[in-house]
Symmetry: C2
Subunit: 242 residues, 2 copies
DNA sequence: CGCGGGGTTGAGGTCAATCAATCAATGTGG
DNA sequence: CCACATTGATTGATTGACCTCAACCCCGCG
């Protein structure tokens, strides 16, 4: 996979979801971004924090997670390249969830003060950021539905479709082959399932010829049928080029 | 219950979540709002629509709902007085969920063109609106967790706590007594449970002395224990006065 | 070579769904 | 005013999807 810069990741994502002029892009390119690499399962922001910066995913995979009083973990969404998982922190002072890496990831940190200044002076960019948080919300809505009303196999197929679509939009997929070293435990926490059941559902998807896995490689062997099996419709991702 | 005007509902909500000056309030009071009454289970906006207006809940209860391919309904969030359920439509052209009334409700419609003009000229108000959509997103996140990782009884208690908190913030509750004629079927669709099981969980909460119901009245008899039973923490509501 | 993390497998248990009635409250037309 | 339909709440019996527990395997690594 090719290395891309933090600005490219950010700008690519914003362009994917909104119309920005060359002037806006120049402003975005000027944002100072502090890059850092992290191992899997590293907590980037903790529930209860009051951060003064937000971060963009430059490479890898990040999850927003919550823990119940019983200590069970729920991943409430995935974030791929270009996404700004905690952008809501810009206007909600206290974090209500934890963000952690789900695989080795490169992260870029941006100061809230910088982002706020840009939003004030460039309404077009402010709208793009707002829209980004609205798409995150649309994905949360879909996840509520997925976890609440779909059975395990459908749920599994659905989340794989989402991951593949989002990674493809971000240019990280060729021919339905994704390189995501995500553990079955993480998938379980995202789907509200046990790891044992995740394992069995993956087996069934393989048995049906819908996917193939080898190591961290995930391949959609039969995209139309996988979409059907996952009751998947891209509308909620609000991308332009799907 | 006292009747309030559409402006009051809207302004009350925005003041609850952000700092607005008198000048901003005057602008908000000037928004033209078309009021209309609806019966329960009326679809206000349909999935797939491209609306040119957003609506504020003046009285009643609205749910954002999605349907799976199998026809199962999932309510992904409730909206109470002052909330603007489809404010995200301002920047996401296609609706990815349906909004419908869950009880007799009064709704106020506002044109997108008006809202956009206000946002451009009054950044403080724009931020307040943005913040409103961010709180909606925080609630979706909590619901993913609730549906994904909590067992039925906890889930039930949790949603009741949320409803009571939000209604109280909106001034619709005195002494933990709420007047919500919401059906058990709707609760089931919000929790990802069958109506039969909703019924049994409500019975257990009554048996434990945590709640009392009579007709559409819901009363929290033992708030601290209900909060404990629901694994409930108000942080995610991002209200100031809780 | 032993250790640990992740994946896989089998057996048994349980929570919640489904199915099928019944009941209470409300409304409606004759 | 009463027969009847409708909507929502309630109950019991049965079924099934998914969880838990407990192994075991595989592979990379110190």
């Amino acid at each position: 996979m090719s290395y891309i810069s933090s600005s490219e990741a950010l700008i690519g994502k914003l362009q994917r979801i909104s119309d920005l002029g060359e002037a806006d892009l120049a402003i975005l390119r000027g944002i100072s971004i502090q890059e850092k690499e992290f191992q899997p399962n590293h907590n980037l922001v903790l529930e209860g924090d009051k951060p003064s910066q937000s971060f963009v995913v430059i490479d890898g995979l990040v999850g927003s997670t919550k823990y119940t009083g019983e200590g069970k973990r729920q991943i409430t969404s995935f974030f791929v390249i270009g996404d700004i998982p905690d952008l809501h922190g810009l206007h909600l002072s206290i974090m209500d969830c934890t963000f952690s890496t789900l695989m080795p990831s490169r992260i870029g940190f941006m100061r809230h003060s910088t982002l706020r200044a840009i939003c004030e002076q460039h309404p077009r960019i402010a709208t793009a950021f707002w829209r980004s948080t609205l798409i995150d919300a649309a994905i949360y809505r879909e996840w509520v539905t997925n976890v609440g009303r779909r059975e395990a196999l459908t749920r599994m197929a659905h989340i794989l479709c989402e991951l593949i679509c989002r990674l493809r939009a971000a240019g990280r997929i060729e021919d339905h082959v994704a390189d995501i070293p995500i553990t079955q435990a993480a998938l379980g926490d995202a789907l509200g399932l046990s790891t044992v059941h995740v394992n069995r559902m993956l087996q069934e998807l393989r048995r049906k010829g819908l996917i193939a896995t080898s190591g961290s490689r995930l391949q959609a062997l039969n995209w139309p049928d996988l979409v059907r099996a996952g009751d998947f419709d891209t509308t909620y991702l609000h991308q332009r080029n799907l």
